[in-house]
Symmetry: C3
Subunit: 158 residues, 3 copies
């Protein structure tokens, strides 16, 4: 199965749709390709209907809700990547994820939260190509009050 | 117009000077070039006279002051880049910015703050080459109490 | 002297052992190599006996203890890198470090803390190849309550 086929199966299983790709907001691009690598901007968690997920993990929302937010941020990354590349089948592999979690000062389960996005990448690109390096950490605050922001780097077909 | 010419015009318009390039501080370099990419260290906002901008956004300083700090951090990046490359005309394009904002826990306008640096890059390298991927987030604290720290990656001429 | 020889000398001087390489935890890899660059995941400070260092800098632990934690995170990076490459002698140079410090909101000595890892890299890879670009910043919180998390990028022999 190709990444596009696996994404379609995953979306059907989750009863989710891929969000519309984030429009370039003028002063940055959702994805920039250079020398065989696709660098994505930090993506926020957005429902397919455009609604933004907000709330701080540890007081306003729980780990499970934050994991779902990480999954949605991951879907946003895939939407941007497909818009840039034409098809996710041009992705060779995930290189790295940077996962930022907006939690309370005592929140320490950042890895569990970011797994929501990492599992998506493993499901879509496979256990070898969909698993890359990763850092997950707690921020002080995030744009628009979202619980997670995720950026990624992928290796792509030339 | 070349990047150097556009930078000169921008500095004249803003009545600003490029700061002296940050001296290598021993345990890291301001810029490291490998394989056609220039990776910059995180740069802090410094006036041309060497004075550091400090303060937390949301209580000690406002968004406008933080945007100016982001602009100054961006000028510091350009100063370091010119010192390393000889001329900014060797820059092909901005690849990505990582923008860290020292704000209160409820501050959510990190993108507006980092626009201060992104606008500078777009002005100097143009609307195509000066706009790359970007992540902006709120930190817990920053070195020396500055409001912003910015790192960047550029593609350069071989 | 080679990096492996310098590491052995450094470990003897510090009376420390290299920790066992972190086991791949399923949803990410400790190191991912692509196109001559080795991207490491964020590494946490672990003693050679497997004990994790925890505590926030500025109230629970002091700068000196946090510097040692940064050194241990750096040793963890070297252990992962050796496990991936076979030998540290295949490393050409350090490209960049991202140093995350879990400190109080008023803690501003992130660079001093991360120097614990930067000094290790300079000692092992030499003053030219072991000194790269770097960003150090204060997070809101870190996985498992550790004081530092560090990720790195290295250029390696093909």
């Amino acid at each position: 199965m190709t990444p596009e086929q696996r994404l379609a199966a995953k979306l059907a299983e989750l009863k989710l749709e891929l969000p519309a790709p984030a429009a370039p907001k003028g002063l940055y691009r959702p994805v920039l390709v250079v020398d065989g690598l696709a660098y994505t901007s930090g993506h926020l968690p957005v429902e397919a209907n455009g609604e933004l997920i907000t709330g701080r993990v540890g007081d306003e929302i729980d780990v499970e809700a934050a994991q779902r937010a990480a999954l949605l941020a991951g879907l946003g990354i895939l939407a941007s990547l497909r818009a840039e590349l034409g098809s996710l089948n041009r992705v060779r592999r995930l290189v790295k994820l940077l996962g930022m979690v907006n939690g309370t000062p005592h929140f320490i389960q950042q890895p569990a939260v970011i797994n929501g996005a990492s599992q998506l990448m493993a499901d879509v690109f496979g256990p070898e190509n969909g698993v890359g390096a990763r850092s997950a950490f707690g921020v002080g605050s995030l744009p628009l009050g979202v619980p997670v922001e995720i950026e990624a780097v992928f290796e792509i077909e030339p």
